[in-house]
């Protein structure tokens, strides 16, 4: 069946109505006391937020001069202005930023590892305040950034016996984060803004390979202390800590764990073995991982982790916001710089998950997708390319004065946003949506993106009752397709993207094309197929690099219904969607233009702006959004997965994820198949 192409303008009012149309109420587990929301939509609405925000309590933020408190980060997310470094001696900020549109939700997720150390070094009179480490922290913060970040267990000596002083000091910031989240949470019936208590578990292994994860709690019922990577050394230890200190210890406590920056993990984030034991996954391990790790952050300021062209895929759009190294070590030490391979990317993990499903009966990589900023300025949701103030953290030190230079390493970007489809803007509703993976990611723009899949979806469902039909006849993204109703049946995938309308000062950019991405495993290899289903890749839309003015046609929204023509009911598969905008200027192009850099005139390339003319970094981007997948799991393993005999004489059921890892690539079946 050919994909249904739609005329965007014609369906615009209908699709807008689709959001508002009534439908039967769905049950929602309530775990907190709050006023019922006035605006409650059983068909669910898209909410935009940021689940990855650092403030002054993160070491790397504080050593970059960030003074933002959690309460200020939440106020910023709600639309208040925020002062940024450099600060004058009297405390006046050198810069002020403000969101043009408030967010719907946010979570402050400071690094849990050094809460106490940072608080101690900033609190006169605290035990350890006068220690050598704290003196260097205050006098030469950039130097302390390296040796404090690299410190694992045991804690510094100034933290006292067993780290007790720092652990006690850590309770202050942790309490402040909870209080700030509570104060900013709108418990009135207006339901304007939702906060989540959270933190970042910041573990790195082998050459600073990133295993970082954000922990987001459902409500105000949280552990007494966060489980940091100093105390919980592996992801398995983190889940143990959440089991014992949250779910079992605090009534009503629950959490989701969100891995991020797999692009910097040196291939470790989705490795086929348990980190703690070094043994291959078991079904129990896979189930536990899938239970906690329901989402993955696919986009943030340190790059796009979906895929990389040349690293396991030929997908022509896997070229955006990619880092040239695969670990943090590669960021700071060119000798350790390695080009990222396929194992660093979410698309590979999603394919590996299908193989794990076959081998174990459980898929440990059953991820919904989100984006966020990972701002280290406390500037939640600040994703504008124009005027990007840098992100703090591992970026360019600001110090006492704004450097006459690009304000972020050229390879970084402003970051993305998390999208959640939920009935209302409350903690319970948003958290339930995260658990069922009904989420989407954007690289910054507020593109509302939705996907349903089913066996009987109507080819003409791109209309007013898109959501009703999707819910009635299919499953929402994040779900399981279920068994085929009859031989010869094939999955039908319906995706709808509503472009970001923007603001009066900064109008939205039209959408260029909508794609369905199918992953499956067969004949010993993971496969992918990327299909253009709406829009026009050859529309001729361009951007003037000198003025950043965009030109050419595009769509305010795109919708398509696509039936899988190659479906094999014996083969596990998944489907997700991606939409891209017309080309626009990258943040660095805005900054380089503002600095008067003209690459043809070397005299205009001042120190600090060399990146402007580095051809390794594009001048334009195509902002984008991704839905979470819908999975198809066959009831019986296909013949190609039947008993295998290995060279060592052992046997296993089916194709193992380790074998997929050796393949290191996805077989691209087709691109641009309209």
């Amino acid at each position: 069946m050919a994909p249904a192409r739609v005329t965007p303008r014609a369906v615009a009012p209908l699709l807008a109505l689709a959001l508002l149309a009534p439908a039967p109420a769905s049950p929602l587990e309530r775990t907190e006391q709050r006023a019922p929301c006035d605006a409650r939509d059983p068909l669910r609405r898209p909410f935009f937020g940021d689940l990855h925000v650092h403030t002054r309590y993160s070491l790397d933020a504080s050593t970059q001069g960030t003074r933002t408190r959690p309460s200020e980060a939440y106020a910023f997310a709600r639309g208040a202005p925020l002062g940024l470094q450099p600060f004058s001696p009297s405390g006046e900020p050198g810069r002020t930023v403000q969101l043009a549109r408030p967010l719907d939700f946010a979570a402050v997720t400071d690094h849990a590892e050094l809460f106490g150390e940072v608080a101690t070094c900033n609190t006169p009179g605290a035990p350890g305040y006068d220690s050598t480490v704290c003196l260097i922290y205050r006098g030469w913060p950039r130097v302390s950034f390296f040796f404090m970040n690299a410190r694992g267990a045991p804690r510094f000596r100034f933290c006292g016996e067993g780290g007790s002083d720092c652990l006690a000091a850590a309770r202050g910031p942790w309490r402040e984060m909870q209080e700030a989240a509570e104060a900013a949470y709108d418990r009135s019936s207006a339901c304007r803004f939702t906060t989540f208590v959270g933190y970042e578990w910041t573990k790195s292994v082998e050459q600073a390979s990133n295993l970082h994860r954000n922990v987001i709690f459902r409500n105000a019922a949280v552990p007494v202390q966060p489980a940091s990577a100093v105390d919980a050394l592996t992801p398995e230890d983190l889940w143990d800590a959440l089991d014992t200190q949250c779910r079992a210890a605090v009534p009503g406590c629950d959490a989701v764990v969100i891995p991020h920056n797999s692009n910097l993990s040196g291939g470790m984030m989705f490795a086929p073995d348990e980190l703690r034991s070094g043994t291959p996954f078991t079904a129990g391990y896979a189930a536990r991982r899938a239970d906690y790790e329901r989402l993955v952050e696919v986009m943030q300021h340190k790059g796009d982790s979906e895929c990389r062209r040349g690293a396991g895929t030929n997908d022509e759009l896997c070229t955006s916001e990619l880092l040239p190294y695969d670990t943090f070590m590669g960021r700071f030490l060119s000798l350790a710089r390695r080009e990222p391979n396929a194992r660093n990317f979410t698309r590979t993990a999603l394919a590996l998950g299908l193989a794990h499903q076959v081998a174990l009966g459980v898929n440990p990589f059953r991820f919904g997708l989100i984006g966020s900023t990972d701002t280290h300025l406390g500037a939640a949701g600040l994703v504008e390319e124009r005027g990007h103030p840098g992100h703090g953290g591992a970026g360019i030190p600001i110090g006492e004065q704004l450097p006459d230079a690009l304000l972020d390493p050229i390879e970084y970007n402003p970051g993305g946003l998390a999208g959640i489809w939920a009935e209302e803007n409350s903690r319970d509703a948003l958290f339930e949506a995260m658990k069922r993976r009904e989420t989407f990611a954007t690289s910054g723009p507020r593109i509302a993106f939705r996907l349903f899949a089913g066996w009987r979806l109507d080819a003409k469902m791109c209309g007013a009752d898109f959501a009703q039909r999707g819910i009635r006849d299919g499953v929402a993204m994040g779900g399981e397709l279920g068994a085929a109703p009859s031989p010869g049946a094939a999955p039908v995938v319906a995706a709808w993207a509503l472009g970001d309308p923007g603001t009066a000062q900064s109008p939205g950019v039209p959408l260029q094309r909508l794609q369905i991405i199918k992953l499956w495993v067969a004949e010993g290899s993971p496969h992918e197929s990327v299909i253009d289903v709406a829009g026009d890749a050859e529309s001729g839309a361009t951007v003037d690099l000198a003025t950043c003015e965009t030109k050419g046609p595009g769509a305010p929204q795109l919708c398509a219904v696509w039936r899988d023509p190659d479906f094999d009911p014996r083969v596990p598969a998944l489907y997700y969607a991606r939409v891209v905008q017309n080309p626009t200027c990258r943040w660095s192009t805005y900054a380089c233009n503002a600095a008067g850099v003209r690459c043809a005139d070397p005299g205009t390339i001042r120190p600090g702006f060399e990146g402007c003319c580095d051809d390794a970094y594009p001048k334009t981007i195509q902002e984008r959004a991704w839905t979470s997948p819908v999975w198809y799991t066959p009831t019986q393993a296909p013949a190609s997965f039947a008993q295998r005999r290995h060279p060592d004489g052992s046997q296993s059921r089916g194709m193992t994820p380790r074998m997929l890892g050796e393949a290191e690539h996805l077989v691209t079946e087709g691109e641009r198949r309209p």
Binding site: T63, S131, T132, V133, I136, W140, P141, R142, V143, F146, F147, A150, R151, F156, R157, F158, F332, L333, S334, I396, P397, G399, E400, Q401, P403, A405, P607, G608
Partner: protein, 113 residues
């Protein structure tokens, strides 16, 4: 004379700054220990020793060359020019200092930031 070195981040600065940063890491090493600090401290000591030896050698060769100059005015001019160039280069903000907490480029006056 600025030299390139690595101490957790790559810098281009006078050896004096390298020695200063090495001293900071040494202080942490004494107070706290830790593998990373040991590594950074050792890197600092090795690079400081290397550049000190190189500069000592270069200075010795330069001194020997100056000794061969017979006319005192020429000898004074050569020494003066070398000193001027060294001081002038150290006053220009030509040093890349990613380890600096306050600026990306620095000069001799901001050696200890």
């Amino acid at each position: 004379m600025p030299v390139p070195f690595y101490l957790g981040d790559t810098e281009w600065a006078p050896v004096l700054r390298l020695a200063f940063l090495t001293a900071l890491y040494a202080l942490v090493l004494i107070a706290e220990g830790g593998r990373t600090v040991i590594l950074l401290g050792m890197l600092g000591v090795l690079q400081t020793a290397l550049y000190t030896a190189l500069f000592y050698l270069a200075a010795a060769l330069a001194a020997r060359a100056v000794e061969r100059v017979r006319e005192p005015p020429v000898r004074i001019a050569a020494v003066g020019t070398a000193v001027f160039l060294l001081v002038a280069s150290s006053l220009l903000p030509i040093y890349q200092t990613p380890l600096s907490s306050t600026r990306l480029h620095s000069d001799l006056w901001h050696l200890l930031e």
